[in-house]
């Protein structure tokens, strides 16, 4: 080999061996360090090496391609990558290529690029394993939580039923018992709502997504939903001296979006109920609609103090709670997100011009003539 070529081969850590008619190999390049540790010390001048005795992998490769050496060819054959354990315990990746150069049968042994990529493969698989374990753990906890919530639900119904009975049958003296019984009923009702909220969230996750190709005829009217929610929460808002305003007229033409009426109302209900909790007395909450190309954007804007910056990124995460959310499960906004996303929409938060909070979501408009389902 020319000195330049020899230098290149050496720098690339490649061993070049020439095959003899007897099937052994003679080293024609400098011996790479990794190879010298594997060659028996008894071998003189690195000649007549029987590689299949040194590398079990090559035993198969050379045997399978024995006919390759019969006739010089421009073709070459490259093996897969294999691992050799060096005497110091270090693992070395190798790859072999059989070829003819000027009709001389050569075998190249080289360190493939995988050697450098090894830590990346290792890290990627470790991360993947960790991820699988986490997912498994989360699944187990969710099933457990679901079971617990179900188990809580039944006795709670019993407690509430008993309290209702006490009240309706006048089994307690009004002056000392009624108020306490009513308190118990209120608390039990609140807890039932919380349980329903948790169950609904889980159920929603496992439900297949509503197809986004729903037609205009069955799509909900988001304007009507807004008015419905404003009405149902008006009493709660009044108690806090908060006014709910819907920007659009109830009698206007329906504003159809992809979704389903009951859950769409729950999304709006959660956003408005949230706003009521964060709006100071005497202020208002505004619900608006506007068209955004193929989407309809709904927003709920309050005149509170807005969401602290450090909470914004996690507002729609599961069990995410604000600083003053005592008694809240942190599932309301999460429910909103997965529901809206399930319908092909997007939900978000921005500070309002008044300094309060503005929660918005966009839902696709339904198509006019959906294709008939098969």
């Amino acid at each position: 080999m020319s000195s330049i070529l020899a230098r290149l081969v050496s720098d690339l850590d490649i061993a070049v061996l020439e095959r003899t008619p007897q099937g052994s190999f003679n080293m024609v390049s400098e011996m790479p360090e990794w190879l010298s540790t594997l060659i028996p010390e008894t071998t003189v001048h690195h000649e007549a090496l029987f590689l299949e005795d040194i590398f079990l992998f090559l035993d198969d490769f050379l045997e399978r391609h024995a006919s390759f050496w019969n006739q010089p060819t421009l073709e070459q054959i490259t093996s897969g990558v294999w691992t050799e354990v060096l005497p110091d315990g270090k693992e070395q990746l190798l790859q072999a290529t059989a070829l003819f150069v000027q009709e001389r049968p050569l075998l190249l042994l080289k360190v493939p690029f995988h050697q450098e990529a090894w830590p990346i493969y290792q890290h990627a698989r470790e991360q993947r394993l960790e991820n699988e374990q986490l997912v498994e753990e989360i699944n187990k906890r969710e099933v457990l939580l679901h079971c617990i919530v179900h188990d809580l639900s039944n006795p709670l119904s019993g407690i509430k039923g008993s309290l209702d009975l006490l009240l309706s049958e006048e089994l307690v003296e009004p002056e000392d018992g009624n108020e306490l019984v009513q308190l118990g009923i209120r608390q039990a009702t609140k807890m039932q709502k919380l349980i329903r909220s948790i169950l609904s969230t889980f159920a929603n996750e496992v439900k297949p997504l509503v197809p986004t190709l729903i037609g205009e005829d069955i799509a909900p009217d988001i304007n009507a939903c807004m008015h419905e929610v404003a009405e149902s929460l008006s009493a709660t808002a009044s108690l806090r001296d908060v006014h709910i305003k819907v920007d659009s007229d109830r009698s206007k033409d329906p504003v159809k979006v992809v979704g389903e009426t009951e859950r769409l109302e729950r999304v709006l209900f959660n956003l408005v109920a949230n706003a009521i909790r964060h709006t100071p007395k005497g202020r208002k909450i505004t619900m608006s609609l506007r068209e955004e190309g193929k989407y309809i954007e709904a927003s709920v804007e309050d005149e509170g103090t807005g969401v602290p910056e450090d909470l914004v990124d996690h507002l729609f995460d599961r069990f995410s709670q604000g600083n003053d959310s005592i008694g809240q499960a942190g599932l309301g906004l999460y429910f909103c997100r997965i529901t809206v996303e399930g319908w092909g929409g997007i939900i978000g938060y921005r500070p309002s011009a008044s300094g309060g909070a503005c929660f918005w979501f966009r839902l696709p408009k339904p198509i006019k003539n959906p294709p008939a389902s098969e």
Binding site: L56, G80, V81, W82, T83, L93, Y121, R125, R128, E132
Partner: protein, 158 residues
């Protein structure tokens, strides 16, 4: 040795060939080839074991490696249901290249607690279809020699 990544293929081979076990997970790239002499029914046999990289999205299995095999162990991890799906895929690929040759489904990591009752039914169905299924623990050594020897016996019978 065919199976998803991190199901314990290399650990099983090390336990079988060298009698050692390490908790450390070192991913395999390409193939490792090991040899062990065993005696089956008074006949000495040289078992060449090809420990192949697990298939995942980072690395596909080079089917060149399986050519010439006379039998294979399909290894799954008892704690990872997804490893059974990978085993199915690899089994189909192996059948295309090798035809119907002996194989054993190895449920490794038997020392760990059960994590996937849901798959028990599927395993049972495979057993009913005639699959040979054995459990092992490379960590404790339970069932390891037996599974390699069973495969060797199956190979000798064919």
């Amino acid at each position: 040795m065919l199976g998803s990544f991190a199901v314990g293929k290399t650990s099983l081979v090390r336990r079988f060939v060298s009698g050692i076990y390490s908790e450390d997970y070192i991913t395999t790239i390409g193939a490792r080839v090991e040899k062990k002499c065993i005696t089956i029914e008074d006949r000495p046999l040289n078992l060449l074991v090809w420990d192949l990289n697990g298939e995942d999205k980072f690395q596909k299995l080079n089917m060149d490696y399986v050519q010439g095999s006379e039998g294979y162990l399909l290894v799954i991890d008892k704690t990872r249901p997804a490893s059974l799906e990978v085993a199915h895929t690899l089994h189909q690929k192996a059948q295309i290249v090798l035809g119907d040759i002996p194989f054993i489904l190895v449920i490794n990591k038997s020392d760990l607690p059960d994590a996937w009752d849901a798959q028990e039914k599927e395993i049972e169905q495979l057993r009913e279809q005639g699959w040979i299924i054995k459990t092992t623990s490379a960590k404790t050594g339970t069932g390891v020699d037996e599974v390699f020897e069973s495969l060797a016996r199956l190979i000798m019978q064919t």
